[in-house]
Symmetry: C2
């Protein structure tokens, strides 16, 4: 992690500690005001082009014995994060959960410790990655970009993201690396590992001047953050290529406008990212092999139809079209026309080259 960003994170955590200490020294019970993350407090911010938290806050008052448990858990999580920052280390969410035992901090389960970390994020306005706390899952990336590492032991070392023909995982090191330079003109995010490998091996990344990002389903924040940085720092527009089903569509929607449970975090969305497909129209136009929508798919469509992120075109239209089609198709389905069709024809149609 860059030293200045690490310093800023450490300062924010120390500030939090000093505020609490100050109350205690004045003989008062410390009180924290944590932004309310319930969906009732999520509103669309047109200026940021994404969903953000509204003005409602939750009070955590050390005088209230019902609040004491989570108050102490939060203080411990902040201490743990500060120690990570000071030693230049990282931790997974799972490790944080287990580490709590060493300090006699009681979490019922990892869901509880994850929630406390999210509290800490919304309290400080700082994503956990900047405090050195990462999830287990990884997505991966491949393409003509030079990144400069900032993690301990690799500070200043540069890596070309074509070094491994299998791609590079977007782990803690790459999430905190700085984009330096690129020959690419776009970011092309793809849902499945098979499609990612196909686009590397056919040199589609060269043909379309693309940095490829493998999302692996609804992508971890690390992948969304990296896409945002490639967009901001290197000026690359982002295109998203998923399966043609409600789940694939929602992957794209989250990349564009944010997820509910990360609405308190900035710099994860790319407001002008574009879902190229597989759209319901593609399924029809390319006569793709399909499967019927399952009950789970229909339930998902029904949930999304009352989600504010789907109230306007083109997103509300996609829901209507999926329902009328009653079918879905994977991005691999283009293989029915031969394994090169997706690169030579579909992507050429969609990316206009």
């Amino acid at each position: 992690m860059m030293t200045d960003r690490r310093d800023r994170a450490r300062e924010l955590l120390m500030l939090l500690g000093l505020q609490v200490l100050d109350s205690i020294e004045r003989g008062e019970f410390p009180v924290l005001h944590i932004p309310d993350r319930r969906t009732s407090n999520i509103v669309y911010d047109p200026s940021r082009g994404r969903f953000v938290l509204g003005g409602s806050v939750q009070v955590r008052d050390a005088r209230n014995t019902k609040h004491l448990r989570s108050f102490v858990q939060l203080m411990w999580a902040a201490t743990f994060a500060k120690q990570l920052l000071e030693s230049g280390r990282t931790s997974s969410l799972r490790d944080l959960y287990y580490s709590s035992e060493a300090f006699g901090i009681d979490f019922r389960n990892q869901a509880e410790s994850n929630r406390i970390v999210t509290d800490l994020e919304s309290l400080t306005g700082m994503p956990r990655e900047e405090m050195g706390i990462f999830p287990d899952e990884h997505s991966s990336v491949y393409g003509p970009v030079t990144m400069r590492y900032t993690v301990t032991g690799y500070e200043g070392r540069e890596v070309d993201l074509t070094v491994s023909p299998d791609g590079l995982p977007i782990g803690p090191a790459l999430t905190t690396a700085e984009p330096v330079d690129t020959d690419a003109e776009i970011v092309l995010a793809v849902e499945s590992g098979g499609m990612f490998s196909r686009l590397i091996e056919t040199r589609a990344w060269e043909k379309y001047h693309a940095v490829l990002v493998h999302l692996g389903g609804q992508p971890p924040r690390s992948a969304r953050r990296l896409m945002r940085r490639l967009h901001d720092v290197l000026g690359l527009p982002v295109f998203v290529f998923t399966d043609g089903d409600p789940w694939g569509m929602h992957i794209a929607r989250v990349i564009v406008s944010g997820s509910a449970n990360a609405a308190h975090i900035d710099r994860l969305t790319v407001h002008d990212a574009e879902w190229i497909g597989v759209t319901p129209a593609d399924i029809r136009d390319y006569s793709l092999p399909t499967d019927p929508l399952t009950d789970a798919d229909l339930k998902r469509l029904s949930d999304l139809s009352i989600d504010p992120r789907y109230s306007d075109p083109p997103w509300c239209d996609y829901i209507v079209e999926f329902r009328s089609l009653g079918r879905k198709a994977e991005q691999q389905a283009f293989s029915r026309y031969g394994i090169d069709f997706v690169v030579d024809t579909y992507l050429a149609d969609k990316l206009g080259q």
Copy 2:
């Protein structure tokens, strides 16, 4: 893929085609003899130190209309593989399934096409990876090893497996790369991504002179094949570090002696690989935080207790110990003693350094 290995694979597939063609030209219905992969035909081969297929075969006779469907599917899969080899390309199992539509070959679902690929493997004695067919899932690797790529576009290029501090995915390119040189003395395979990151970042790989392999649960064959090659080519002994539960134990057992559904494939097992833990004894000796064994865990122990791979010590003893303990622990559980304990103490105890 190395050219000579690719040529050998192509020759085997052509030989299969010529045999079928020869029957037809002699006016006979072609007949294939496929080794029987049912568990009733799986036997332990002490000389290979793993489970192999016995002498029973299944006949696929083109005269029999019930056999015709799978006969044609098999011929198509062989043709598809041959085309991959000739163009230096790879395919995922999923892509193979979808590609079949382009040729009017009917598979009910991917399970059926996967089974046909396995038929082709056991008929030719050649793993699908050598025909360029790979699964979607990846595991990853990190450590002081130089590998030389053989995939198209990267032939002869060398990569140091410490190039990315997040590790490198074991995809098609790394699976077919050649180990060239190493400063490591052991392979240390770990189950979880969190532990893998921890061991990289604490430089445990340096302290223990280890190549780290992230298994990610029951590892894909590509990870098992890479460990075997590091063992054979570079002479590295293999140690396996998993969660302390029946599933983690079985990950180690499969690395040592093979899985039932890959019993027809050579060069995946490391017969002298060692499970360092978390063993039931470790759970007790290190007073690890535990969870009770669930019904699914107990059912698993019960299945394994009648599996021939668990008929001898120490494996049969582990089952007894898990049952008497009634509890399990994750490898992350050592974090209760601080995040460095697993490296400074547990691994030192187990690896004797």
